[in-house]
Amino acid sequence: MADGYAPRILKVDLTTREVEALDTEDYKDWGGGVGMGAKLFWDLVEDKTLTDAFDPRNVVSIGGGAFAGTPVPSAARSAVAGLGAFGYPVNWFTTSNFGGRFSAMLKLAGWQMVTVVGKADSPVWIDIRDDKVEIRDAAESGDGLWGLDAHETQKAIYEIHGADGTWRSTGASRDSGRTTQHPAVLTIGLAGENMTRIASLIHDGGSGAGQGGFGGVFGSKNLKAISVIGTGSIEVADAAMVLDARLWAADQYGYQVDGLKSFAISNPCQVFSGMPSASTGFGSPARPEGCMNCHKSCHGVRAASGLGNGSHCYDTQIWQVPEKTATGAVTGETQGRLADLMQALSINALALDTAGFWLGKLNEKGLVGTGKLVDTDIFEKYTFGTYEWAEEMLHRMAEKREVGELLAEGPARAAEKIGRLEEDVKSGDLPLQEWGYPHHYDGRTEVAWGLGSLLSSRDINAHDFNWICMWTVTLHTLYGLPMPVEAEEMANIIAKKTPPYNDPMIIDMSDEGMYSESMAKLVSWHTAYYMYYKNSMGLCDWAYADFVNPYGENLEGLTGIAEPKYVEGVTGRVEPLEDGIKRGTRIWNLMRALYILEGRHRDQEVYGDYMYEVPSMPVPGYMLMSTPQCVPVFENGEWSYKMVAGRMCDRQKTEDWKSIYYEFEGWDPASGWPRRSTLEGMDMGFVADELEAAGKLGA
């Protein structure tokens, strides 16, 4: 029966320059995206103690889930999975994610995933046209892509394809597929080519797999780009049901351009009902840009200025406060040019934000300058906060030149190299919350984000509870506006939508709730939900999970109702939400097993010291820590929203909580390793076997 999947997985061996088609059927249980990527890694990497992301044996898989390319709304995310070069102290198996058109186009070409092994002996790119796959010369001797920036590369590939909006064929026969579309390209700029650890993968104008360091992994494989054009089709189990589900979701819960509803403060906290916005055009006339089959088109804009196409959120905001501080104004030109430059060089925006913040702190201490501990002239030659400072810093990082050579290693390794890691992480001058990743959302206040990241291999970047429990509450508090729902009602709605636990206490972020078993349920549920529905099946983090929705009856969102509809319409499978959670838990345990084979033990799962030592206070000028946080709490027998700024994590209580969590997941609390019974209960005896052989099975 048709189930939304493309029939084959494309395996490209860059060492031998051979391509092979694997059977998607063998991987469907894993959903797609991250789940399939984890299983492909498991199958294709023999020595799973491998922890060097730049080793040719690293296997990187890219693709979406069952939903990509179908009318399911906001469901075409593409995942990247493999060892990530950014992780510190270990290049753990990790994941990244980007929007746009890639996963859908890959499926239309007949491929569910593309998985890359080995290393080419000279620069190459992979040209996928339906079932025809060519490994092409990317160097000057061939198509001349190596050395171009990420946008120039895509333009060059569009030209190679003759993509101009007219019909063209992908083959010679009259029944070869035809298309009017531009190929979907995933590529790197100089920062990736030069194997920095801070490089992203870029698609279209501003879609990017920013975190994880996969840009450098591509560079280590001499892989410049993967391009795909697909003229085929994706069959689903029940097409009428899928169309009905799409229209139902978008019409009942999505924004209505001719009948807007919103919280007192909207976007993007409204998740599924969020609206397109021109703010990332900075005053230039524009259209919104939407990822494939999305109903809300929140992915930045295409502006008449030509600046910042498709870039949004963080990428267009990190330099606003520095620019205003330095020059007195925020200019659209700076933000747009900077976003474009970051994408062109394929640098993770957090790398610039953190470099600027940390070096600024060291500069205040007199440690930065020509001949000083951080030997650089960048503060002398350029004014921090100006476009020119940022531009120069980005070029230096991409080229590994001057201070860029240090910072290209990522902030943790950079700080370690100059002997500042311990002190600066302890003070919070270098806020690396876990695994070398810059602080994103705060485990001291928002709790589950931090804990989920700590147990995983990176900043989780999964906003399911962040949008509604933190941002909505914080913004409405700060602006003195009425909450969409009060805390108790929020807890009850969320309880209803989080089976099998259905426990309202999961969003209690009080001083006690932080370390409770309910918090263990939240982290477990959250991880399973986003691992399956989002990272694997492809639902977008900016549309799901949708708990509270201004269009919904009783303000309830569509999570819990929509996901099973989509699954049934696309795959034919009747799968209530709790069964999807089980699938997510399974994927999570496979990833956990990979970390463990790579050396993970509970003793390493410790936050950066500032989390335990420094009260969580807003840090103006550092984008990621700029707001005091208000969250739901249950105290003295009642629910309320409370500003929890000033809080720290208690070291021992966090350790105790970890034991509660491990036990909750069926893992040995002494080590954090899954038990055989847990794994076999999920039909993962093969994982237990390998852990046991490595002496790493939970007792």
């Binding site: 048709a2 239309l108 579309q181 169309l243 609206m275 021109a278 990822c291 008449a304 030509g306 196409n309």
Partner: protein
């Protein structure tokens, strides 16, 4: 099968039919304006095609390139999602400059349909009840003259390379995989699924120019509140729309 009899030089009969005068499709000739002209009879020798009772209008400056229309179109007609099999084709250059980075290319249901005229078997025909120009797949012999004949680029006729027949927009008259009535009296899936109402429908024959089919759909809804231009040129922003500071 369209109930049209063609009178040929040999003198076979043609029934008198009401039809529209005017030259559509190639952008020259008479401009019809909004009113449907009826009741003009021509001599029996003339081959007459009734006008379509419905037309899709688009606002390319509003289009967000999500391709929801394309994926829904193919799903509704064939039960499978595809860009190539969509009867509306959206050109999207992700690295292009607004407003020329996108074009929504819908079938114009031309008053003079060159694609219908080109079809040797009558597979491509004007539906006798509604005038909708559509393909009877069973009669298509795959000559692709219709694809060549469409005066627009890209051709609004497509060759369905999977199912081996020509296809075109039928205003959703025949959508076996969608639980709604289509055709001019019903709904069109592209219009229903478009998140921003960048596609609309009219029963009036549009002015036969590009501007007749690519119109301003940004004035009467919240578009301006989002900060986008509601002016015809899509380039003029009001004071309130010139935001310079982003949100979170």
């Amino acid at each position: 099968m369209a109930d049209i009899e063609k009178k040929e030089a040999t003198g076979s009969g043609v029934s008198r039919r009401e039809f529209i005068t005017g030259v559509g499709g190639v952008g020259v000739g008479a401009v019809l304006g909004g009113a449907l002209l009826k009741g003009i009879l021509l001599p029996d020798e003339v081959y007459a095609i009734p006008a379509s009772e419905g037309y899709l209008l688009v606002d390319t400056k509003k289009c967000a390139t999500c391709a929801s229309c394309m994926l829904a179109c193919s799903t509704a007609h064939y039960g499978k999602a595809s860009l190539s099999l969509s009867r509306i084709q959206v050109m999207n250059d992700p690295l292009g400059l607004y407003p020329n980075d996108v074009a929504q290319n819908q079938c114009r249901q031309c008053p003079y349909p060159a694609c219908v005229d080109a079809c040797p078997t009558g597979a491509n025909h004007a539906d006798p009840e509604t005038g909708v120009r559509m393909v009877d797949e069973a009669k298509c012999i795959g000559c692709e003259r219709c694809v060549q004949a469409c005066p627009f680029t890209p051709s609004r006729m497509q060759w369905n390379h999977e199912d081996k027949h020509a296809q075109k927009c039928d205003l959703c008259k025949d959508t076996p995989y969608w639980n709604e009535e289509g055709g001019p009296e019903g709904k069109q899936i592209c219009m229903q699924v478009c998140p921003h109402n960048a596609i609309s429908f009219t029963k009036d024959v549009p002015v036969q120019t590009d501007a007749g089919y690519d119109v301003n759909l940004r004035k009467d809804d919240a578009w301006g509140q989002f900060g986008f231009s509601t002016e015809d040129d899509g380039m003029t922003l009001s004071g309130a729309q010139g935001a310079t500071y982003g949100g979170h």
